[in-house]
Structures are given as C-alpha cells and as structure tokens.
C-alpha cells in the first residue's frame, strides 16, 4: 500500500513570496490533515478535511494560508505572502475513518523562509 505522498521535500523562498505544497493521501482515506511542525515543537494542526469539506480550520492563519481538497483526494496548502516565522516542516496525514483515529503521515515538506 502506497503511503502519503508529499512534494516538494524541501523549499527555500524569500519572505513575501508565495509557496504551495501538495499532498496525495492514501487511497480511500476520507480524512486529510495538514500540520505545521516548527523546529523543537510538536506538530500543530492547521486544517482537517473530511472528503472535500473543511472540518476544522480554527488554527489556520487565514490571512496568508489557504488549503483546498478538490474532489476529496489530493490537497494543496498555500502560503501567500510568506513570513520568516513560517519556516517549518509541513506535514500531511490521512486516515481512513476519523473515529479510528490512526493517522498516517507523509515525510513532510521543509520550508525555509529567508
């Protein structure tokens, strides 16, 4: 079974530029999560999708971050414009059924904003 795929693995941009990350969850997984992991901290939820609907985006900085999950499969997370404090690893995870709460994580995208 293929795992959660993310791209790119690494990205370096200048502040005020825009960037997008892509995630392909495990086939058949209805729930998709985006987490932000700042160095030295645990992952923090940014947004949770159930199929193509948003379940929880309470911690997403909506003035600069946006995410979509068209057709309930792949998802993209965008930052525009980026700030220095956005430097982090962005993790995508998926789960078959939210009530089973076993999430499978991708390898993440490491973003450096200079």
């Amino acid at each position: 079974e293929a795992g959660v795929a993310q791209s790119p693995r690494y990205k370096i941009i200048e502040k005020r530029q825009s960037v997008a990350f892509w995630c392909n969850p495990i086939s058949g997984h209805a729930t998709l999560y985006w987490y932000q992991q700042i160095l030295g901290q645990g992952p923090k939820l940014l947004i949770q999708f159930q199929n193509n609907g948003v379940v929880d985006d309470s911690q997403l900085p909506k003035d600069r971050f946006s995410a979509e999950r068209l057709k309930g499969v792949d998802s993209t997370l965008k930052i525009q414009p980026a700030k220095l404090e956005d430097s982090a690893v962005y993790l995508c995870a998926s789960s078959l059924d939210p009530r089973r709460t076993e999430a499978f994580f991708g390898q993440g995208t490491r973003l450096t904003v200079v």
């Binding site: 901290q41 645990g42 992952p43 949770q48 379940v55 995870a93 009530r99 390898q107």
Partner: protein, 116 residues
C-alpha cells in the same frame, strides 16, 4: 480543549539500559492516546495507541505504555534499548466520539539518544 506535556525534552541512555519517556495530558473529555516516533529524515510513524480495554499497550519492537486515568499519564517504557531506537518520540491525544474534532494534539517531543 486538550493539551499534552512531555516532561523531558532529551533523554540520553546507554544501549541495553531501560528507558521511560513521560507524557501527561489534560482534557475535559475522554481521549484516545498515542505515541508516534520520528526517525531522522523520516515521517511520523505510529508506535502504539490506547483506544479502550487493557490499559497496557505494547508495540512490536518492545515498547509499552500504560494509560493511567487518575494521573492522566501515558508513559512510554522499554526495558532494554538499542542504538536503532534513537529518534524523536511524540505523545499525542485526540478526543473520542466527536467526528469534527478528531485531530491529533501533540506534545513537544522527547529526543531519545542511545549510545554504546
């Protein structure tokens, strides 16, 4: 709301020594409990989980954790560690029953460093 506290940021041990990584949580509702491991340059992998039933849960590589409801703890233990156990370990919780709020809430992580 839920929160997770991992009491040690770094735990250095010698190979074949026992280890305990401590985790406490705070929640006003029932929660599921998890330990995830992150090896260098790899993604998070589920190590073990407590959903219900026996409060002692085990992983396939010798780790175990015990859910203590009265102390709101879920400490991770291994009686004899290997060099290959060197990694970052994350304790996490998620609320039970509420479909809209099932996302994992993580602690800050504990770096386990095993040396020979």
């Amino acid at each position: 709301a839920q929160s997770v506290t991992q009491l040690d940021s770094q735990v250095p041990v010698f190979e074949e020594a026992p280890v305990e990584l401590r985790c406490n949580y705070s929640s006003s509702v029932s929660v599921y409990l998890f330990w995830y491991v992150q090896y260098p340059n790899q993604g998070l992998q589920l190590l073990l989980k407590y959903l219900s039933g026996s409060t002692l849960v085990e992983s396939i590589n010798g780790f175990e954790a015990e859910f203590n409801k009265s102390q709101t703890s879920f400490h991770l233990r291994k009686p004899s560690v290997h060099i290959s156990d060197t990694a970052e370990y994350f304790c996490a919780v998620s609320p039970t029953g509420n479909q809209a709020g099932t996302a994992l809430i993580f602690g800050k992580g504990t770096t386990l460093s095993v040396s020979s």
